[in-house]
Amino acid sequence: MPSLTHHTLPNGLTVLLKEAHSAPVISWWLAYRVGSRNEPTGKTGISHWVEHMMFKGTERFPMGMLDREIDRAGGQWNAFTSMDATKYFETLPADKIAIAMQAEADRMVNAQFDPDETESERTVIISERQGAENQPTFWLQEGVRGSAFRVHGYHHEIIGDETDLRTMTRADLYEHYRAHYCPANAAAIAVGAFDTGEMLAEIERLYGSIPATGAPELFARQEPAQTGERRIVVERPGKTAFLEVCFRAPAATHEDWMTLNVLDAVLSGSSGASDNKTSRLYQALVKTEIAAGVGAWLRPTIDPYLYSILVTLREGRTPAEAEAVLLGEIERLKADGISEEELNRARKQSKAAFAYNTESVTEQAFWLAQSFILGDVNWFDNYAERLMGVTADNVLDAARTYLVSRQRVVGVLRPVEAEEEQTQA
């Protein structure tokens, strides 16, 4: 793997560069340390809405101009708001990357937040939330998070609560933007076919003159310790029941996070590389025809979040019986640990997943951006090495530490009878 160049401009902007000459393309990212975790009650969803407003233009690049220019160049661009961050990217043929670098420098400080456009976007974002609400599992996820986090910003959905989406003002959005979009709260990342020296000089030219305002004080509240199991039931029209079992998990930079990642590979097979049909939970829940599917997620987050297991029940099977089997598998793990064979499989899967995830410059840049957000720019580059260091004893200890009832949140989506459906021709 090519080496990483890590540099900080005098105004505080972090710069991460990695050359990759396999294809004549460059992926350019700006990552800001602000996401839904930093939103107080009444302003939920504001980070995501600001992200939408960043596509509404600046004086230099009016709305629609970049859509056109980047598409004309055959590029792709988009943005993502997560719990921890807001990330913007453009991947373009290498000889066309200048416009992306200029545009991101410009909209770090000059986004317009036109009042009419802000109102127009309000309905678009409410539509986005309503589209998500059409999926029953959205309600389950929202309920479980709300139950798991009472104080910390991880308690609400990234899209925000509809009541806040209806009441936030243009002034709220602009203040959030001005407070968080500054060099000391951001990283510029490039991966692709460039010369590092030339790229760094261009970044200094474009971004070096942006005033240093210091890093903002981020709104963040620590979640108090959970003192017992929490349970929630959500009812929605439908025929399919779901069970979500969550345990509190450490931050991504905590040494136990990678151990839990290996534990997850054994339990659910969620390595990102292979299917999961030899995993313990698939064998116990799907192969036995209790569930139609099972998946698990251990997200790399700044603050402690959740290890979540989602079970899709088959008709006629109940969440209670799935829960009993799932918890039985967890108790087995806590009693006996994992075998060397399972550990070696997790290691091989991780090696493969790493290879797949670094095929494109866009994926490589994404992981560099994510590493910056987590506070360790080498987090992804060292991923495989850290995973290889996990032992079976580590997994046993982690299972006994984290997979315990007092740190558990259980959610059930109970389908209820729908009114008679009708089709009109």
């Binding site: 396999s22 294809a23 004549p24 393309v25 709305m63 629609g64 859509d67 056109r68 598409d71 004309r72 055959g74 590029g75 792709q76 066309k96 127009s120 976007e121 309000r122 309905t123 678009v124 974002i125 409410i126 539509s127 986005e128 309503q130 589209g131 059409n134 999926q135 029953p136 029209p237 439908g238 025929k239 399919t240 390595s271 590389a273 292979s274 299917d275 049909k277 030899t278 799907v286 192969k287 025809e289 139609a292 899709t312 088959r314 008709e315 499989r345 091989k348 899967q349 991780s350 090696k351 493969a352 290879a355 095929e359 494109s360 866009t362 729908a418 459906e421 089709t423 009109q424 021709a425």
Partner: protein, 425 residues
């Protein structure tokens, strides 16, 4: 040949061979990665199933991974998951497709498993039953998915019951319940064979070694009475358009699906139609439809159009998700853009923008193993010739505004669009 053209897969750098049994093998070396992708297809899609057995082809595809004469379920998945490899089968309308990936060092295992499950599936009864239950769960869940319901209602209105495109590849609850193990075996025996099969390998491999590996594995495959590939014509009578409404309780958003029969991938005017479609609902922020429905009126989070292409008369369609109160206004706005596209010449700027977009995105389409494999497979599957990508820029450059208008007038008609809306009452 320019430097950029040299990195485009073409007849000079794709190694190809046709085995005596009819399998076409194409190999492209990509030494920049550590992994390898295998992608292929054969004539085993849903057009070869009876309407009362809708879903049969896709269950055969899924069930082929549940047991062979040489490996049981756990052995198949263990062989793959132990090395972080993946192999998936999916049933489409005309073909069954398969796609696998592994570290390059594990190509032989991937090819060995693919060969086994393609040729020797035994469809174990207990796994077929399990798969049937999972499929029924998915179908029940989908009944409450407004996007699925709108798309299904549009499709069923656009294609009459005697046309194979009337039916979804996943089948329906009634048809799935009636499919037997014998049906699976008979379909496999009839449709799965070497004649017409395509197999593409892309990755960090040597072409001669990969060709030899595949030749050794598949060379002795024989099929006693192979069935000929079938063509599907457009319905004899165009659907009369009109609007269907599907009430789905408990939802907050409505999904709109509009369609009309479009060109096949092999049609002479396919590229012109694709360019016209880009003007309509792709370029920039979802083309003219996105500009009108999302940017100007703020009605929807998503609203876009697509040309199905494929081997037969797939729809040219538009999809949007809107608040129920805005359904009529959104439909009216979309139809106005369709009317405009099919009555007015696109501007010189529109044509130039979209030509540049189509040709400029080539490097990104060819950035990953999967992207390269997909493009090579398409060239072979649709008979485009292996120099298609090399000539692509020239072909796109020859298309005129008149070609776009002609394509729109050939296929689109605002008043004949079949419209379906699924959402709350």
């Amino acid at each position: 040949m320019s430097k950029s053209q040299a990195s485009i897969p073409h007849s000079g750098n794709i190694e190809q061979a046709e085995l005596p049994n009819g399998i076409k093998i194409l190999v492209y070396e990509n030494p920049a990665v550590q992994s390898v992708n295998v992608m292929g297809s054969l004539h085993g899609g849903s057009i070869y199933e009876a309407s009362e057995q809708s879903g049969l082809a896709s269950i055969v595809a899924g069930a082929s991974m549940t047991g062979t004469g040489n490996r049981d379920f756990d052995a198949i998945h263990g062989a793959l998951e132990d090395i972080g490899a993946a192999l998936n089968f999916s049933g489409h309308k005309h073909k069954v497709g398969f796609s696998g990936k592994a570290l390059a060092e594990d190509l032989s295992t991937l090819v060995d498993v693919a060969n086994d499950v393609l040729r020797n599936p035994v469809f174990p009864a207990e796994h077929v039953e399990r798969l049937r239950g999972e499929r029924l769960t998915w179908l029940q869940y989908s009944q409450f998915d407004t996007r699925y319901r709108a798309s299904k209602a549009m499709r069923e209105a656009l294609y009459p019951e005697d046309h194979p495109y009337h039916y979804g590849t996943y089948g329906n609850e009634e048809s799935i319940a009636g499919i037997s193990v014998d049906d699976l075996r008979a379909f496999h025996s009839r449709q799965y064979g070497p004649a017409g099969m395509i197999l593409v390998i892309v990755g960090a491999v040597k072409s001669d070694e990969a060709l030899a590996l595949v030749g050794d594995a598949f060379g002795d495959w024989r099929q006693e009475s192979p069935s000929a590939a079938q063509c599907v014509d457009a319905p004899a009578a165009q659907a009369a358009g009109g609007r269907r409404t599907v009430f789905v309780p408990g939802k907050t958003q409505s999904d709109i699906s509009m369609g009309i029969i479009g060109p096949s991938r092999k049609a002479d005017d396919f590229l012109a139609a694709q360019l016209a479609n880009s003007v309509l609902g792709v370029f920039g922020m979802m083309g003219r439809i996105g500009k009108s429905v999302r940017e100007e009126k703020g009605l929807a989070y998503y609203a876009y159009s697509s040309v199905g292409g494929g081997h037969g008369p797939e729809p040219w369609s538009v999809s949007a998700g809107v608040n129920p109160e805005n359904v009529d206004l959104a439909i009216e706005s979309i139809l106005a853009e369709i009317e405009r596209l099919s009555t007015e010449l696109a501007t010189e700027g529109d044509l130039a923008d979209n030509q540049s977009y189509f040709t400029g995105r080539m490097p990104l389409r060819l950035e990953s193993n999967e992207g390269i494999a997909s493009n090579i497979h398409s060239m072979e599957s649709y008979g485009l010739g292996l120099d298609y990508l090399l000539n692509y820029e020239e072909m796109i450059g020859r298309i005129t505004r008149e070609d776009l208008l002609a394509a729109a007038q050939t296929y689109l008609s605002a008043e004949d669009m079949t419209i379906a809306v699924a959402g709350p009452e």
